[in-house]
């Protein structure tokens, strides 16, 4: 466990928490929340990319987490912590079933089926009157005691999960994932159950996405099916790509940069789309390896790209 770079993480998380404690401006606090949730979602998306798949169902699992939390808080009236855990748990469980079926497919099929799943789940919410239909659920408030501390809580929970996924990536489990991406058959020959590993990876990522959804629900107090369109995954992918996917720092950078840009762009009315889209387009065209790719230079994985 010596290569976990613990001091860096400790310093980074401490800094982030310090910022949340220092900032009292509610608007900036709300942007911090967005960044933390976006970072967690992006890291979750990247975690599945480790095994070579693009998980567009991320959007659906963020939604499942949010709706679970919404239901637990507003219908069952259970406490905050349980609601948070439930979001991750339910997303994780659903992802096991969904993954069991779909992880037999690969590449574009997996990508597109995730996209279709996202849309289908949204229709399910909107058809359910218990879940508020299209207008969504309201009144998902954190406990009063936490009211002023929400940014700190959100950043702390996100940071903890991001670190957990990082630790998993650096563990032997993470190496199996890379092996699956590189050469699935070899991993199969040495007694590893590939489908199981894939499902585990997918479930871990989806559970994290589910918690991101729970945090989203608590941060916004209101959720609606429209919140969880495939754009959630598309933006998460943008954070990963703009930041750089080789390293976990990439999605973190990407989230900070794009969320801040996006918050600024919100003032542009209908032009916001153009602005955000142009940012993404230019970033992929000009920085194919993302921002962190610029920094770390071209320790190219080019060999992997060849046949």
């Amino acid at each position: 466990m010596d290569d976990l770079k613990l001091p860096c993480w400790a310093a980074g998380i401490a800094l982030a928490l310090a910022v949340t404690l220092f900032i009292r401006d509610p608007y900036i606090a709300s942007v911090l929340n967005l960044i933390a949730i976006a970072a967690l979602t992006a890291v979750s998306l990247r975690f599945v990319m480790l095994m070579g798949e693009l998980n567009f169902a991320t959007a659906a699992f963020v939604g499942i987490g949010a709706y679970t939390t919404g239901a637990v808080v507003t219908i069952l009236d259970w406490p905050f912590a349980i609601a948070l855990v439930a979001g991750g748990l339910v997303a994780g469980l659903v992802s096991i079933v969904f993954g069991y079926v779909t992880l037999r497919t690969k590449g574009p099929y997996f990508l597109l089926i995730g996209f279709a799943f996202t849309e289908a789940v949204r229709i399910l919410y909107s058809k359910s009157t218990t879940l508020g239909g299209t207008s969504g659920m309201i009144g998902i408030f954190p406990p009063v005691a936490l009211d002023g501390w929400m940014p700190t809580v959100i950043v702390a929970v996100s940071a903890a999960l991001i670190f957990a996924l990082y630790a998993l990536e650096r563990s032997d489990f993470g190496k199996i994932l890379t092996a699956i991406r590189d050469n699935e058959n070899v991993a199969r020959t040495v007694g590893l159950n590939i489908l199981l590993v894939k499902i585990a990876c997918f479930a871990a990522a989806s559970a994290a996405a589910g918690v991101a959804g729970s945090l989203h629900a608590f941060a916004n107090n209101v959720i609606s099916p429209g919140d969880f369109s495939f754009l959630v995954a598309a933006f998460a992918l943008a954070y990963v790509k703009v930041g750089g996917e080789d390293n976990i720092v990439g999605p973190l950078f990407g989230s900070v940069l794009l969320v801040v840009l996006g918050s600024y762009a919100l003032g542009l009315g209908g032009d916001e789309h153009i602005f955000y889209g142009a940012a993404i387009t230019l970033a992929v065209l000009l920085l194919p390896r993302g921002i962190t790719g610029l920094v770390t230079g071209r320790r190219a994985r080019a060999a992997g790209k060849e046949h």
């Binding site: 071209r298 190219a300 080019a302 060999a303 046949h307």
Partner: protein, 245 residues
């Protein structure tokens, strides 16, 4: 010394001062080789020496950083592979690269993609199939369903379908049974006799030197020796390094 060409026809293939690299890692350094009319030339070298890179640089799959490639006197450096095929170059690439989901027949037909004379293509098809009669009844089998060695045969057959004037072969005997290796060697000699100029890249120096007229040795991206094949086969260093005697 190189053997001077007897006629004044342009040299089929002349590579001069070619360098190439993957990222910052250089793979070829100032490589010059020539293929004279009617010749079989072999390029031998340890693995990782850069043989495949040289082939790729000649056929346009890798962009050289310096130097040039001339095909029958014409500078073709940097042209895309498909243009080169139309100029008479054909390649059996490393790793075969068959179209695995397409049938053997389709693979062979694609070999003749750049040709328009249907009758001639038909004749060549028969001729090429005759070289590997054991595969004839399996023309409708997807290429990926053949054994490794069989695929290697199809790859050679496919390259011949373009009726090349210059043929580059990157380790065509890899994975072949000893008896088939001999057959391939034989086929190469026969093709060369029909006027095709052959550049043969091999690990298997024994076979390569036995069919080639002339040989180059490539080490760490640079040419370190060039001579008649027979002479090299008898050189003690070559024997030690490549023939394992």
């Amino acid at each position: 010394m190189t053997i001077e060409p007897v006629n004044t026809e342009p040299v089929p293939l002349a590579v001069a001062g070619l360098s190439a690299s993957y990222g910052v890692v250089p793979a070829l350094r100032d490589v010059s080789i020539t293929l004279h009319s009617g010749e079989i030339v072999t390029l031998i070298g340890a693995n990782g020496a850069g043989k495949s890179t040289l082939i790729k640089a000649i056929c346009g799959l890798v962009r050289p950083s310096a130097g040039n490639v001339r095909l029958f006197g014409e500078d073709v450096t940097g042209l895309s592979p498909d243009r080169l095929v139309r100029k008479g170059l054909s390649v059996v690439p490393e790793g075969r690269r068959l179209f695995s989901e397409m049938t053997m027949r389709e693979n062979l037909e694609l070999g003749a993609f750049a040709r328009s004379d249907r009758a001639a293509v038909g004749r060549d098809f028969e001729r090429v199939i005759d070289l590997f009669p054991e595969l004839r009844e399996r023309l409708a089998t997807p290429a990926g369903a053949f054994s490794g060695g069989q695929q290697q045969m199809i790859a050679v057959a496919r390259a011949l379908m373009s009726a090349p004037r210059v043929l580059l072969l990157d380790e065509p005997t890899i994975g072949l049974a000893p008896a088939v290796v001999d057959r391939i060697a034989d086929i190469i000699t026969r093709i060369a006799r029909t006027g095709v100029n052959v550049l043969l890249v091999e690990q298997n120096a024994e076979t390569a030197l036995s069919v080639a007229d002339r040989a180059y040795i490539l080490e760490a991206g640079a040419i370190t020796a060039e001579d008649r094949a027979i002479t090299l086969a008898e050189s003690p260093e070559v024997q030690r390094a490549y023939l394992g005697i």
